[in-house]
């Protein structure tokens, strides 16, 4: 057995003693956006900290968003605010603006960093993680993800943009190597998947990752996602991977691409921990990641925070310990 460590956040933190954590998180409308911040604050192990508030990309639901942010700000008052305050940034900020936020954090953070990606859209947490990994002063880096009690059963997000690569995950090499496969993580909505797959309908294998566990209801929603792809040429049977196992997903990506030798296009529609695996792999293999960014998010995207034996239901993924990267393409 040799894999990147991870597990419940209370367990991971407990196994990394004597550290004060610099915290980068998102202040969003969901309850879970402050879950980890509250946990870290209560552990009295905080170093520098920064919360990022992402301004919605659409005026729709502005009243509802406003109400929920107010609830979160009230909660923040009780918990205590971050040392570096709250930065506000637009959902469709430029790449430079996004990089500026993480660089600002990196300039003040200590050697042990926790980045909570629970509520960051991918166009933020992908470049955040990549940029933090490039900082050699960071000795310990963990990425955390809080599991909500419930997801909204209807539309989670709407009106996506045309597909584009994620910031810092654009084509890195010209001429581009021939794309040999597309890797899709199955999720609840396949916004723009058809147009993303448009140029790759021949000579390209399509690998889908079916998150399992968990069980119902996600299981059936994910199968429905795959059903709607069933007639695509080149579609291979889905690979089952635990929705919260970033390390396993990463190992699969390494094998699928023959240690990065095969050029792959990634379409991360599924659970965020699997998207984290794609982020890490694409960072190391210098491959592009495309995504269709929703314009509108449901202000009730999720409710509540899972509890596991009385502790916060959050996963922690250890990306670096003592300056050693835990994820590598060997």
């Amino acid at each position: 057995m040799h894999r990147a460590p991870g597990g419940p956040v209370s367990w991971v933190i407990g196994k990394l003693p004597s550290r004060k954590w610099s915290f980068l998180g998102c202040l969003g409308p969901e309850e879970r956006s402050l879950g980890l911040w509250e946990y870290v604050r209560s552990s009295a192990k905080t170093d520098k900290s920064l919360l990022v508030r992402i301004r919605p990309g659409s005026p729709r639901y502005s009243a509802e968003f406003g109400d929920r942010i107010k609830l979160r700000l009230d909660k923040l008052q009780q918990i205590g605010g971050p040392s570096e305050g709250i930065i506000e940034i637009d959902l469709f900020a430029t790449d430079a603006e996004i990089i500026n936020v993480v660089d600002q954090f990196a300039s003040v953070c200590g050697p042990h960093v926790m980045v909570d990606f629970s509520c960051f859209p991918k166009r933020f947490f992908f470049p955040f993680v990549k940029r933090l990994l490039s900082q050699t002063k960071i000795e310990t880096l963990i990425a955390t993800y809080t599991v909500p009690d419930h997801y909204f059963s209807g539309l989670l997000a709407e009106d996506h943009q045309v597909f584009a690569h994620l910031p810092l995950f654009g084509p890195a090499q010209f001429p581009e190597k021939k794309v040999e496969m597309v890797v899709v993580t199955a999720g609840f909505m396949k916004l723009g998947l058809a147009e993303l797959l448009e140029p790759y309908k021949t000579g390209v294998k399509i690998r889908t990752i079916l998150p399992f566990p968990p069980g119902l209801p996600a299981y059936h929603r994910n199968w429905e996602f795959i059903r709607e792809m069933q007639n695509l040429p080149g579609l291979l049977p889905p690979i089952r991977i635990d929705a919260f196992d970033c390390a396993d997903a990463f190992d699969h990506l390494v094998q699928l691409t023959a240690y990065g030798a095969k050029n792959a296009i990634f379409a991360p529609f599924g659970p965020k921990p699997l998207s984290l695996a794609i982020c890490l792999f694409a960072t190391l293999a210098k491959q592009a990641v495309f995504y269709t960014q929703p314009t509108v998010y449901n202000p009730d995207y999720s409710t509540g925070i899972k509890k596991w034996d009385g502790e916060i239901g959050a996963h922690a993924y250890v990306l670096r310990i003592n300056g050693n990267n835990m994820y590598a393409i060997k």
């Binding site: 040799h2 119902l216 390390a247 003592n322």
Partner: protein
């Protein structure tokens, strides 16, 4: 085209439920190809899924019952062979590895953490609780080697002499035990094995890993942990209350469950076909212990699952016939 297929087309073209039947048809078609065709007890000389499906719908005494049977299908949670394989891997990669790290008291920043964990595997005995757990598959998928004997502990509890077992543990320098089971309902079936493991004088740390567990099994696990301090239980996939069709309605249960509950009750006399429960070897319309399970494993259908899904009789054709133990 046969009469049933004709009827189903009629359902799809009727209002108001036609669109819903259309959705169910597509769902079933897809999963039949991806999952249902892998149901093990029907491999070999047995009717294929679609034939069983038609026979099963024909169980309905009238069209309304047939429609309800059809609507029930998307509620079934079918865990296919690839899903089971992944549960073995998750059990090892997540549940067991974190327990081993705890056992060894190794911090995550120990540069030799994985070396120590791998070393500890040599002194860890992985066994099944019952023979329905595919322990060899678990070993192969997780590349574990080094242990020839992998008895199921339910048999050990019945047949083994504790002292002989203790000597074996000592001779082979076994420092900890991991017991796995594919499906745990209320836990009553494996309880003797758990008690046996918890009562050994060697008091070795023992981890029990159910791959799939029902809520009543979770309750039983808490009792075991408090009764036997050397035992911990870490299930991989916990089913939710709403995954069950219980005799008594639950709050927050899916709206369809009302119709399905009535179906389970109304269909039961025909399902029994004049036999007694004992003769039929089933436990009632909601399965063993009135669990009301909707789970089907690719390897077999648990007896906690509704018998209308798995029971066969002269008057009732099953959809996923259960291979009964006794």
């Amino acid at each position: 085209m046969n009469a049933l297929k004709d009827k189903m087309q009629r359902w799809i073209l009727s209002l108001p439920h036609g669109p819903a039947f259309q959705t169910v048809t597509q769902h079933v078609e897809h999963l039949a190809e991806q999952l249902y065709c892998h149901y093990e007890p029907t491999k070999g000389a047995s009717a294929e899924f679609w034939q069983r499906f038609e026979d099963w719908l024909e169980n309905g005494t009238d069209e309304a019952m047939q429609q309800t049977l059809f609507r029930l299908l998307p509620s079934l949670f079918f865990i296919g062979p690839s899903e089971l394989d992944n549960l073995y891997r998750v059990a090892f990669n997540s549940n067991i590895s974190s327990w081993l790290i705890d056992q060894l008291s190794v911090p995550l920043d120990d540069p030799n953490m994985f070396g120590k964990v791998n070393e500890s595997l040599k002194h860890t005995w992985f066994c099944p609780l019952t023979d329905s757990m595919r322990i060899n598959a678990f070993y192969h998928l997780n590349h574990i080697s080094g242990r020839d004997h992998r008895p199921d502990w339910l048999s050990l509890a019945l047949l083994a002499e504790p002292t002989k077992l203790e000597a074996f543990l000592k001779d082979y320098k076994i420092e900890r035990i991991v017991l796995l089971e594919d499906f745990v309902g209320s836990g009553s079936q494996i309880e003797p094995a758990v008690t046996f493991a918890g009562s050994l004088s060697s008091n070795l740390p023992t981890l029990i890993v159910p791959l799939v567990i029902c809520p009543t099994g979770v309750d039983a696990a808490k009792v075991w942990e408090s009764s036997f301090p050397n035992i911990q239980v870490r299930p991989v996939l916990k089913l939710r209350n709403s995954d069950f069709l219980t005799r008594v309605p639950q709050t927050d249960e899916p709206p369809d469950h009302c119709d399905f509950r009535q179906l389970a009750i109304d269909s039961f006399p025909k399902l029994l076909g004049g036999s007694t429960l004992a003769e039929a070897k089933i436990y009632g319309p909601f399965g063993f212990d009135d669990t009301g399970g909707l789970v089907v494993l690719a390897t077999n259908c648990p007896d906690n699952t509704l018998p209308l899904v798995h029971h066969g009789s002269p008057t009732w054709k099953p959809l996923f016939p259960r291979a009964s133990r006794i």
